[in-house]
């Protein structure tokens, strides 16, 4: 386990990172290895091209959106801390851990998971999923199997289901409400990040 601690030591502020994300040292190390593997040129940060090199991801219909979620607006790179923090959204919720009353909301909380999903739709970051934005996602996910008109009516119906204030768009609050019955903890968690 000597190598474990030595790898950990190489990462700056690793304590803070673990505190914020709730990842164990083993997770951090594994993610760090992955980070270094993706960062082929060893610059210490990743750019969109590095993500694009992942073959499976390129085939994902909403892959570019997910890549985009790693980069905060205006930034072309992502460092290890941000990388881990984004991935921490997908850590399963642990019920055993005692809740500290004044600790900030963990990254993997239900609403943060939802926020992550929401921003994948909301590409112009105006806090609302407009019809066009929804249509784009639908188009990429349903692809050739349905006609454009069908896509449009699906989008209309979807918005109409969620749209409570009738502004023809889905705000985050509406998004959260419409998915109230979905087990987000289950659907937005990956087992090996536990």
């Amino acid at each position: 386990m000597g190598s474990t601690s030595s790898t950990l030591l190489k990462i700056p502020n690793v304590e803070v990172l673990m505190q914020e994300t709730g990842f164990s040292p083993a997770h951090i190390i594994r993610l760090h290895d992955r980070f270094k593997a993706l960062d082929k040129e060893g610059r210490g940060h990743l750019c969109p091209q590095d993500f694009g090199a992942i073959k499976e991801l390129a085939m994902n219909p909403i892959g570019d959106r997910i890549i985009g979620a790693f980069f905060s607006p205006g930034k072309e790179t992502v460092d290890f801390h941000t990388f881990v923090k984004i991935l921490a959204h997908f850590r399963p919720v642990d019920k055993d851990r005692p809740k500290e009353p004044n600790s900030p909301e963990p990254i993997n909380s239900r609403s943060n998971k939802l926020k992550f999903a929401f921003q994948l739709y909301d590409q112009d970051k105006d806090g609302k999923i407009s019809r066009d934005e929804l249509l784009k996602v639908l188009r990429s996910m349903l692809g050739m199997q349905v006609t454009e008109e069908q896509l449009e009516s699906i989008a209309d119906r979807t918005i109409q289901e969620a749209d409570l204030d009738r502004d023809e768009a889905i705000s985050f609050e509406e998004f959260r409400k419409s998915l109230e019955k979905v087990n987000i903890d289950h659907k937005m968690s990956i087992r090996f990040l536990r």
Binding site: L38, F51, I62, L142, Q150, S153, I154, V182, R191
Partner: protein, 863 residues
């Protein structure tokens, strides 16, 4: 009110009990008569009865033709031929009795909400058994293992597996397999050894049972019965993960138990001293081969079945039957190869459902579903009833307090220990751990049922001297678990506050996001560079889509099956149905057009009632102004009916006559098929040449109404003018339907006959009405001539209306059988009339392009 109901129920029960007693006395007395007549009772042969679902003690052997005296003195007019029909008759009678019992069980919901139906049926079985016992002084009817395993069980297993929620099943497959395989072995081993230890300790007195027999008993008693479990859990509505765990476990567990039973049975036959390490190894190997061989055989049959249904397009009537036959063959083949038959049919059902459902016609799918439920539910009823009937028999009851009580105790305790142990292990790997409460319910849900009894009854008395003790113990365990645990299950679930199945409405946004979540998780796994569950899921999906679907699905079914779209389609259909039924309930369902094509306007003026039906829509719509919000059903409607607007409020503003309005319009325009087509019998098709007729008739009516309106405007110019038509008097000539006969009605001379002959009944009603322009049904299939929110016919506007020819103005050629000749194929030969030509081409245009070129809206005016 309540007392009335109860009284009638009580009265019915009394009558029913009387009826049951009569049936049973009748059947036994029938037998008595035949016995007297001279048949020889050859006693029991319980293994060779084949055609019966339940057994009769009399053998038909030697008596099938013995009842008729060979020498007759006079010609008999009727003879008593009981022996000819004895077996099938008793079978049918018993099926009827069982189902009547189910009817009685379901009569009072206050009872079934407390005692589960399976328990009630067993109790009714006690009563029936008592009646038979009283009549015969012996138990003549009982559940025979052969009948149970070959005729009653397969359809239940097939139904359970065919209706298995696949995604849920496979995503929890690990847990299910662990519980079903290891859990069952654990139960068998621990119960067997613990009982043997107690026996050695002297808790049961002296019994002639060795350790191997105890293990064999442990194996058969650990069969958690899917029949009993489903029957109880269906009424409890627990959350889906818990449900699938219990259900899947009990289903697979049956197969495993039978395999285990066979292995131990072989060990018992081999005898204790000859078992060495090699034999034990062979036993384990055989267990694996039998279990997995059966599963793979089932998958093979599933592939066969899917391939078969790919090419059953031309025999749609019987294609549903293939599912049953092939499924049953999977069961029997596995049995023949001494593989696990239950596992075989289970995997056959699970694997084929997707492809079979996609390949077969929608009606066949419905047929399969209903027929399967019928068979499964029917035989389930019979199984439980006979479990009760079987009990009333002095022969099988051997009482050994120690053995029976200890079995009950160990079965209960080791089930709990096993469940918690394996769940604890599983939870280390599960994303969503199984909660303690769910574990309690899982362990409490270990109901034993007919499988255990069937296996116990299969025991060989030569090898196991205490067979009857084992049977009676098994029966007691079954009664205890099904009745007592069944009754207490519901309160337990409520008391523990087990997460129930959230009954939620289908929502497009949820489904959409589920899809998105899948993609997100897969992407994140890629980014993390780990091969996780989602990687496997996606890999499998891709493989399935590219290769398996290609092989097993019709090309037509492969297209157009996007899940999200089908959800959307389903929702829209639901809305449409709700809309129509609500409209009918309100008594007003006026259809009208609006400017925007293909819009359904769901704004209701009767908001409050409708909110019950479609709350989510109403919430959104309630504050809207008239006609602002439309949501489109273009995609559905487009193909068939290009422009329908279900718009209520538009009409209701105008007058109160809409109900009648709509009524008449419907009557006028909807197709009413002629009676004699309905009565044609065909074994291979449901309806013959109805479709052609329908199209023809619609076309004719369309033409006629066009011409009527045209004529009216020609004559009166004012569209609101009365159009009183010739009716009744012209019902002189009946046409042979659908056959444009050669007798030839002259061209324009038979206006009257035309009106009367084709649509006699309808005409006499609607012709009396008058029409105004402006509202009504506008469905281009029925009415070609429509447009105009402007409320004026096209020829009044200066558009390119067709100018009728001189001849057309003189004699309006609207005889339907003439018009029929206007159908596209015949225009050239029959019609020289320019008006008709133009008219037809217009109509055709509309049919083809779904355009809305010229419209006349018609409605009656009552003055």
């Amino acid at each position: 009110m309540f007392f009335d109901q109860q009284k009638s129920v009580m009265a019915f029960l009394q009558h029913f009990a009387l009826l049951l007693a009569l049936i049973i006395v009748f059947s036994t007395s029938c037998k008595a008569v035949t016995l007297e007549v001279g048949s020889v009772e050859v006693g029991y042969n319980d293994s060779s009865k084949s055609s019966a679902t339940e057994d009769t003690s009399t053998s038909i052997n030697g008596s099938t033709d013995g009842h008729a005296p060979s020498v007759i003195s006079t010609l008999p007019i009727v003879t008593w031929k009981w022996h000819h029909i004895e077996t099938p008759y008793l079978v049918a009678l018993w099926i009827l009795t069982c189902w009547l019992c189910k009817l009685v069980c379901e009569l009072n919901h206050n009872v079934t909400s407390v005692i589960p139906e399976s328990g009630l049926l067993i109790i009714l079985g006690f009563i029936l058994g008592g009646i038979i016992w009283g009549a015969d002084k012996a138990q003549t009817f009982k559940l025979i293992p052969t009948n149970f395993f070959y005729y009653l069980l397969p359809q239940i297993i097939l139904d359970a597996s065919y209706c298995m929620p696949n995604k849920l099943f496979f995503s929890n497959l690990g847990a299910i397999l662990i519980h079903a395989i290891i859990g069952t072995c654990w139960n068998a081993a621990t119960v067997g050894t613990a009982l043997w230890a107690c026996y050695e300790g002297g808790a049961m007195g002296t019994l002639n049972i060795g350790p191997l027999q105890f293990l064999l008993f442990g194996a058969l008693i650990s069969a958690v019965d899917p029949v009993a479990v489903i029957a109880v859990f269906e009424e409890v509505h627990v959350n889906e993960v818990l449900y699938i765990l219990v259900f899947g476990e009990s289903l697979l567990n049956d197969g495993v138990t039978v395999v285990l039973y066979n292995v131990f049975d072989a060990f018992v036959a081999l005898g204790g001293p000859r078992i060495d390490a090699a034999e034990i190894f062979k036993g384990i190997f055989s267990f694996v081969v039998v279990a997995f061989g059966g599963s793979f055989l089932g998958i093979g049959f599933a592939i066969l079945l899917s391939l078969l249904t790919r090419c059953t397009k031309h025999i749609q009537i019987i294609e549903a039957g293939f599912v049953f036959v092939v499924g049953y063959l999977a069961y029997l083949t596995a049995e023949m190869l001494s593989l696990s038959a239950i596992l075989s049919i289970t995997f056959c059902g699970i694997c084929c459902q997707k492809y079979v459902n996609a390949n077969m016609d929608e009606k066949s799918v419905t047929t399969v579903r209903h027929a399967m439920k019928l068979l499964a539910n029917g035989s389930e009823t019979m199984i439980f009833l006979f479990l009760g009937v079987t009990a009333i028999d002095t022969e099988i009851w051997v009482w050994n307090t120690g053995f029976i009580l200890l079995t009950l105790l160990f079965v209960f305790i080791y089930r709990i220990i096993g469940t918690f142990l394996f769940t604890w292990m599983l939870n280390k790997f599960r994303l969503v751990p199984i909660e303690v409460i769910d574990q309690v319910v899982m362990s409490y849900g270990g109901l034993r049922g007919a499988v255990a009894y069937g296996l116990a009854a299969l025991l060989d008395e030569d090898k196991i001297p205490e067979k009857n003790l084992m049977i009676s113990t098994t029966l007691i365990v079954v009664y205890f678990t099904v009745i007592l645990q069944g009754i207490t299950m519901k309160p337990l679930v409520q008391w523990l506050k087990v997460k129930r199945a959230a009954h939620s409405d289908l929502k497009l946004i949820e489904k959409l996001n589920n899809r998105a979540f899948d993609h997100i998780l897969a992407a994140v796994e890629d980014i993390c560079g780990r091969i996780g569950d989602n990687w496997w899921t996606r890999g499998w999906n891709r493989f399935e889509e590219n290769y398996i679907s290609w092989l097993l699905m019709k090309p037509k079914a492969r297209k157009n099956r996007d899940y999200l779209f089908s959800i959307f389609h389903k929702l829209n259909l639901e809305d449409a149905i709700n809309y129509v039924s609500e409209g009918e309930r309100q008594g007003s369902l006026a259809f009208s057009r609006s400017d925007e094509a293909a819009n359904v306007d769901f704004k209701k003026q009767f908001g409050s009632e409708f909110a019950d039906v479609m709350p989510n829509i109403m919430v959104d719509m309630s504050n809207y102004e008239l006609g602002i919000e439309h949501f489109s059903v273009t995609s559905i409607v487009k193909d068939t009916i290009p422009s329908v607007s279900l718009d209520i409020h538009g009409q209701d503003r105008k007058n109160a006559m809409d109900d009648i309005n709509a009524h008449h319009l419907l009557q006028q325009h909807l197709y009413r098929s002629r009676k004699h087509h309905r009565h044609k019998y065909s074994r291979s098709h449901f309806s013959i040449n109805q479709n052609e007729d329908e199209v023809q008739e619609i076309f004719q009516r369309t033409m006629r109404s066009r011409l009527e309106s045209f004529k009216s405007t020609k004559m009166g110019v004012n569209p609101a003018k009365k159009i009183t038509k010739h009716h009744k008097k012209e019902l002189t000539h009946k046409m042979p339907n659908g056959h444009p006969d050669g007798t030839g009605h002259l061209y324009g001379d038979e206006v009257d006959i035309a009106v009367g002959s084709e649509t006699g009944a309808i005409n006499s009603t609607f012709m009396r009405d008058t029409y105004t322009v402006g509202a009504g049904i506008e469905n281009p299939v029925f009415l070609p001539d429509m447009d105009s929110p402007t409320h004026s016919p096209p020829w009044l506007m200066e558009t390119e209306a067709v100018a009728p020819s001189q001849r057309a103005q003189r004699r309006l050629p609207w005889t339907p059988n003439r018009l029929r000749r206007l159908a596209p194929m015949r225009i050239s030969t029959c019609s020289t009339d320019s008006f008709l030509m133009a008219d037809v081409s217009l109509t055709l245009e509309e049919h083809e392009e779904h355009s809305q070129t010229d419209h006349v809206e018609m409605r009656p005016v009552f003055d």
